[in-house]
């Protein structure tokens, strides 16, 4: 059974232009799924509709049997704890330390007061350290995030998502701001998360080659519609042209 099922999803920001048109797809547990498409295709909007950072207009998003779009405020908070998110610009609180940022991932499990006072249990802190170690940045645990390189910050972002104990991780262009080496490190980590921990990953990517070499499955978006949905080796020149509306030689891929 699939963990996430998106049915007939529609979204428009202004009333006239549809950003997402009848999106249908599903993702199984532990699957690594890439979403590619030109700028403005609606990749970010799709991800943000899933955890309701953006309100969809129509459709269903079934996550573990629940329709996310129907949840009330409190239930939504609970559901969100199961969905981690990783951003292109990391979206950390730059002035706080790495470990503090990681622990932010636990707020979903806390009452207002506990959270405001910043009370975290020893297990939570140990788990945070464990994750930092796993991603190779435990040495920076007490550094402020704005003192880290982009790649290191993104790993903090991943830790923050992982400490939520999510079943699903959404990644919106996680490597677009990174240099080649850091990009590789991050993609490797995401891959191992989905493989070793069985967490489903949906990753928006600009680089076709990266998508091809990492994903189990690729979804190609163009102008709000899915124009490709299949395994990486099925994505040939023809489909790429369909997704991007131009030939591969007009793109600097990767």
């Amino acid at each position: 059974m699939s963990l996430l099922q998106v049915k007939d999803l529609n979204k428009s920001y202004q009333t006239d232009t549809k950003v997402l048109k009848n999106i249908n797809f599903s993702a199984g547990t532990g699957e690594f799924l890439s979403v590619i498409g030109p700028s403005g295709a609606g990749k970010s909007t799709l991800l943000r509709c899933i955890n309701r950072l953006v309100q969809a207009d129509k459709g269903e998003i079934l996550f573990g049997g629940q329709d996310l779009l129907k949840l009330r405020k409190k239930e939504l908070r609970a559901a969100r704890t199961n969905i981690g998110m990783i951003f292109q610009h990391y979206n950390l609180v730059p002035r706080l330390t790495v470990i503090e940022n990681v622990l932010h991932g636990r707020f979903g499990y806390k009452s207002t007061l506990q959270g405001v006072l910043g009370r975290f249990s020893e297990e939570e802190k140990e788990r945070a350290f464990y994750l930092l170690e796993k991603l190779g940045i435990e040495a920076h645990a007490y550094k402020r995030c704005d003192q880290l390189s982009g790649g290191q910050q993104q790993r903090v972002g991943i830790c923050r998502a992982l400490i939520q104990n999510p079943k699903l991780i959404l990644c919106d262009e996680p490597i677009a701001s990174l240099d080649p080496h850091s990009s590789k490190v991050i993609m490797d980590h995401l891959k191992s998360i989905s493989e070793e921990m069985g967490i489903t990953c949906i990753v928006n990517l600009h680089q076709v080659e990266v998508a091809q070499s990492y994903s189990d499955r690729i979804i190609g978006l163009n102008n709000g519609s899915i124009v490709f949905d299949g395994s990486n080796f099925q994505l040939d020149q023809l489909y790429i042209k369909r997704v991007y509306g131009m030939e591969t030689r007009e793109l600097i891929t990767v």
Partner: protein, 277 residues
């Protein structure tokens, strides 16, 4: 053949200005300010003005004031104490103002609060800001009696209004992504405020508060002079308005200047230290 996009003026020369609304508004604003300024000088009341003599006298008076400062009506110790009183007035108004403004600003930042609450607070605060501080102080002095309460409350009103504006703008500039990231982990509103908004704006809040403290210090001086709120401003008023003692005015001015410059250097230092990322 000209490209279709190329624009020429009447003389056949190629335009390089866009001629858009922004530029015309800027030009229009500059022009009307200039015209208004010229008009102002036409309409001014010049009675009793002899510019040559006035400038000469000002120079003489400034020289007396700044080159021969002395204390004649009270002692160094008192001067120090009165400066302390003025600083204290500013401190209390600033601290209370900052605390109250912090909460009001949370509810008036559009990215954090309800649109209508935000609008109402902003309008209310704009009104309070429009009333000159000295009026608030005088009104409180009459209604609440003489004393530090009147002065501080009067200054407090304005401080709150000013800081709510500054703080809410700082909050509104908080990186949207950061708020989203926390929201997407399932964090509540207060979690986001305390652990994301506050840490990322605290230096701004501090620096605005400090700036307001600088302002409040000079307001406290002026209130002492205009509304009998006490402190060094009162002494300045007596020295200037009643004794016409320029030397004492000079001394007090130096004292105030010293405090003000220390505050300014401190705030630039604070800024350099915490804002140069």
């Amino acid at each position: 053949m000209d490209s279709v996009y190329l624009k020429r003026d009447k003389a056949g020369r190629i335009n390089i200005k866009a001629g858009n609304r922004v530029n015309s508004v800027i030009n229009w604003t500059v022009l009307s300010l200039t015209l208004l300024t010229v008009t102002a000088f036409l309409f001014f009341d010049y009675t009793g003005l002899e510019i040559g003599r006035a400038i000469m006298e000002t120079a003489v008076n400034l020289r007396t004031m700044f080159l021969q400062p002395s204390l004649n009506h009270f002692s160094w110790g008192e001067a120090l104490f009165q400066v302390g009183v003025t600083i204290s007035l500013a401190v209390i108004a600033t601290i209370l103002g900052a605390v109250i403004a912090f909460f009001l600003a949370l509810w008036s930042a559009v990215n954090l609060a309800n649109k209508w609450v935000s609008k109402s607070i902003k309008i209310f605060v704009a009104f309070i800001r429009a009333v000159p501080t000295v009026l608030w102080v005088l009104i409180f002095a009459i209604a609440a009696g003489l004393g530090s309460e009147a002065a501080i409350l009067g200054m407090l009103f304005h401080s709150i209004a000013y800081l709510v504006k500054a703080f809410s703008e700082a909050f509104e500039e908080v990186d949207k992504g950061m708020l989203e990231a926390l929201r997407s982990t399932g964090s509540g509103w207060w979690h986001t405020i305390v652990h994301a908004v506050l840490p990322s704006t605290s230096t701004y809040l501090l620096s605005w508060t400090f700036l307001r403290f600088e302002i409040n210090f000079s307001v406290a001086v002026a209130m002492g002079a205009a509304a009998g709120a006490g402190g060094i401003g009162f002494e300045l008023f007596m020295a200037s308005g009643f004794y016409f003692d320029l030397r004492e005015v000079g001394f007090i001015t130096y004292a105030i200047l010293l405090v003000a410059i220390v505050l300014e250097v401190a705030s630039t230092h604070l800024k350099k230290r915490y804002f140069s990322s």
